[in-house]
Symmetry: C3
Subunit: 151 residues, 3 copies
Amino acid sequence: MATLMEDDVFRAFTTYAAIVIVKMVLMGPLTAYYRITRGSFANLEDVARKSADEQKKLLRTHPDVERVRRCHLNDLENIVPFLGIALLYTLTGPDLSCALLHFRVFAGSRIFHTISYVGALPQPCRGLSYLTGATVTLSMAYRVLSTVLVL
Amino acid sequence: MATLMEDDVFRAFTTYAAIVIVKMVLMGPLTAYYRITRGSFANLEDVARKSADEQKKLLRTHPDVERVRRCHLNDLENIVPFLGIALLYTLTGPDLSCALLHFRVFAGSRIFHTISYVGALPQPCRGLSYLTGATVTLSMAYRVLSTVLVL
Amino acid sequence: MATLMEDDVFRAFTTYAAIVIVKMVLMGPLTAYYRITRGSFANLEDVARKSADEQKKLLRTHPDVERVRRCHLNDLENIVPFLGIALLYTLTGPDLSCALLHFRVFAGSRIFHTISYVGALPQPCRGLSYLTGATVTLSMAYRVLSTVLVL
């Protein structure tokens, strides 16, 4: 058990995996913040204490809330595959410097992606940060499949 | 290989991970059940045998179906980060009692979350069960990052 | 570290996990392709260079884009649980032939699912490929829980 955590590459993977997971989990409270400040809820029980008139107003979608939700979904679509591939990539025994490069670029690109998306920065900020992250994932997948292939 | 499964904490992780994954997978059939009983479909090919008139009626959203879908998405947003962090947390070699506490509270909170969401229980049932789960994940992430940090 | 990758079942898991992850990641570019060809965007900054009139036309949903997005979400809902359970299943030390059967059927069913969904093939193509994948996941979860159970 302890042998995995004695490996430098695995420790680097652990660090960056934890960072991007925490970033992804924090999108939940961010959505709640936007829902409350923008007055946009999805469930009747969330506005149960209000009058019927106010309930109608609050049970609607708001562009800012939808934006955060799309950003959260994009995180799921990109960070989760990264976690899977990065674990397998780590177990193929890559160089520490090469692994760190992959992990750092990915974590940086996803943090910048969230800033671009939630802040509505002009394109191609969001597009490029998405592409950078996906490229890192595919680069690691290439390494995994070219090292280990048992069909 | 076998050495991982000889570790008590890893066996506990395996058990609870399997339980919450099975819970998450069963949201699929639950969505199908609501789609069929509520008559609410998203794809034209799903209602191909009906008359054009009936098709229009069936190709709509229904509040109950949307509720189950939101619950499923919330599972993805919370159970998947838990799986990643809990695996890393397990590999840092925590006490069995401390690990079991984390895993049990998380599994319980997510099962109660599903009941609260699908059953539309009054708040703060859903809010508190969500917060409990997210707190467990962040608590494990804290332990992982404070034990292993290779930036 | 290297000991995991010396195991035949783990190498098979690595191969098929990488394949289904790459398939899932490629849904991103496919969505972008449909968004551009169908002229259907979700964010104002994506159409910033167009005139106000054109912007209104481009900021709408399109059935083909929504179809690809539902397919992507279904991938997340099914491939991610598979990755988690298949890793744990692999660590319980199953026969290579039995593990390969699970992995091959799952990978095949998900590739066929994407073809059925994006190509809008008549039912029960999509329904059966979804059920096949979910059955494989539940079969592995049964093996995991019956081998390792520490509540």
